[in-house]
């Protein structure tokens, strides 16, 4: 047992031979404690009549049968055109939101713009997210009137808040390798963004765009209240008057349409990421777990 080989593999400091003490991780414990305390306090203090939950299942069943047993097929055309109008509003809102938020989110990303630009941008995104959709809609309404266009614009403004945030988060979470490569060939900041950052963030950003479109279809419901039309209007009309089979019909149409959109967008996303078309509801992961990407973006130090 020569001393040479004894230490050889361990050029490391001659620390204790044992496994050391199990670390306490105090900070993590405190965080958990605080969270638990918060939840307990909220449950304990909130004004809830738990007894109401007793007939929840029976009631739920009752309303489900009212809605779907059977849905009012006569409302199909109305439900369909309302959903289409909502989809149009959501699409337009998303497109405008993307056009505005995309450059702004670059300006909000670390490593792109100086802090003096970055923080105001992030503040703007947070501010937009803090303003309720209805308030945004009422502001826009005084400009464009009681139209579906107002609805689309309200969705566009709302989208800027979330898309902006998601945008700079994904720009910041890319692998630095290609960015380093574009820097090392002498590329300007714009060139580094275009070729070092964007190709990597692209799939994630596309995913967020599509997801926001999906959210906008649903959010358009609230805008129906202010006269923008679409599913929101039909929804409130039917819910207010307890026409549950009408609600059921609308729900079926909304679900079918959004699921179709979801499948299409999943397909597009798959195309961007893997280079092949595939429906997300089907399909298993490819059997090679050693993903090709690991070669490309193997970490550097």
């Amino acid at each position: 047992m020569s001393a040479v080989t004894r230490q050889a593999p361990q050029a490391a400091p001659p620390g204790p031979a044992g496994p050391g003490r199990r670390p306490r991780r105090v900070a993590a414990k405190i965080v958990w404690l605080v969270i638990t305390a918060l939840v307990v306090a909220a449950v304990w203090s909130v004004d809830i009549k738990w007894s109401e939950l007793a007939d929840f299942p029976a009631n739920l069943w009752k309303y489900l049968t009212l809605m779907f047993g059977p849905p009012d097929l006569g409302k199909l055309p109305e439900a369909f055109s309302a959903t289409i109008l909502s989809v149009q509003m959501a699409w337009l809102g998303t497109v405008i939101g993307i056009i505005v938020s995309f450059p702004l989110s670059f300006l909000a990303a670390r490593g792109v713009a100086p802090a003096a630009v970055r923080w105001p941008m992030r503040g703007l995104f947070a501010l937009i997210r803090a303003v309720p959709e209805v308030v945004i809609a009422v502001l826009i309404l005084s400009v464009t009137g009681l139209t579906a266009f107002t609805g689309a614009l309200a969705l566009a403004v709302g989208s800027i808040g979330t898309l902006g945030k998601w945008g700079y988060e994904s720009f910041e979470s890319i692998d630095s390798g290609p960015l380093e490569a574009t820097a090392s060939v002498g590329g300007s900041p714009v060139a580094q963004m275009r070729w070092g950052v964007w190709p990597q963030a692209q799939p994630e950003v596309f995913a967020f765009w599509l997801y926001r479109f999906e959210i906008n279809v649903r959010a358009s419901a609230i805008l129906g209240l202010i006269g923008a039309g679409g599913i929101g209007k039909m929804l409130t009309d039917n819910v207010q008057y307890r026409i549950w089979d009408g609600v059921g019909m609308l729900l079926i149409v909304v679900i079918v349409v959004t699921m179709a959109i979801d499948q299409l967008s999943g397909m597009v996303r798959h195309r961007i990421i893997d280079g092949t078309w595939k429906l997300p509801l089907l399909g298993r992961r490819s059997p090679t777990p050693e993903a090709k990407d690991t070669m490309v973006v193997s970490d550097n130090d």
């Binding site: 040479v4 390798g177 060939v185 590329g187 070669m295 490309v296 550097n300």
Partner: protein, 271 residues
Amino acid sequence: MTQPDIRFDHVGVTYPNGFSGLRDITVDIPAGQMIGVVGLSGAGKSTFVRSINGLVPITDGDITVGDKSLRDLSGRRLRELRSGVGMVFQGFNLVGRATVLSNVLMGRLYHTSVWRTLLGAWKKDDVNLALDALARVEILPKAYARASDLSGGQQQRVGIARTLAQRPQIILADEPVASLDPPTSHVVMRDLQKINAELGITVITNLHFLDLARRYSDRLIGLRSGEIVFDGTPADADDAAFESIYGRSLTADDVLDAPGHAAGAHLGPAS
């Protein structure tokens, strides 16, 4: 058209966390040399080559490339310097989702206008240059494939082509053959050697493997803990040099039944 010399003058690199990556390095690299940099993992090889194009900022001393001092070079002037220094990365640093050609064209970014960059509307000349570079490393047929669809060796060659398309005066290669199989390693190393010989470009290569470094370099630099512990021709790199670089002699390691594994007496196969 003279190639620039590289001069390290008492260079030190201290990382923001206080760790010294390089200490008091003074070394002269005349234009046109083929240099192998060897050392243990963590010795500072990457830090050494990355400091030459300013990817790692130096904190002490100075590096001069040609007549330019790297100290406080920034913005457009730094980019200009970088455009003359090509870098081949260990992890390839390709944009997997872009085509091979786009990746190689990234080498031309310094010479491309902003709007062409944005639209990806490369100049015809640059495209030809990129295609030539691909031809040189013999993967021209893959020009329009997605970079991520290539094998490791092929990806490494795309990295080299990107550097060639840059038309650099200096090539820095950070472990260009790690995780390639031996024949492919040799191909890549010979490519670099040929570029050095034919075009007179200075090539500085980090290598884990002393044997590769010995075979393909004019000059070896051995690093350990951020300091130069060896500097000489491959012929000089004997066992003593090995020991100074790797901290122990190869021979002791080669002993089949090294003693000293005390623990684990009851580690047998489960019944």
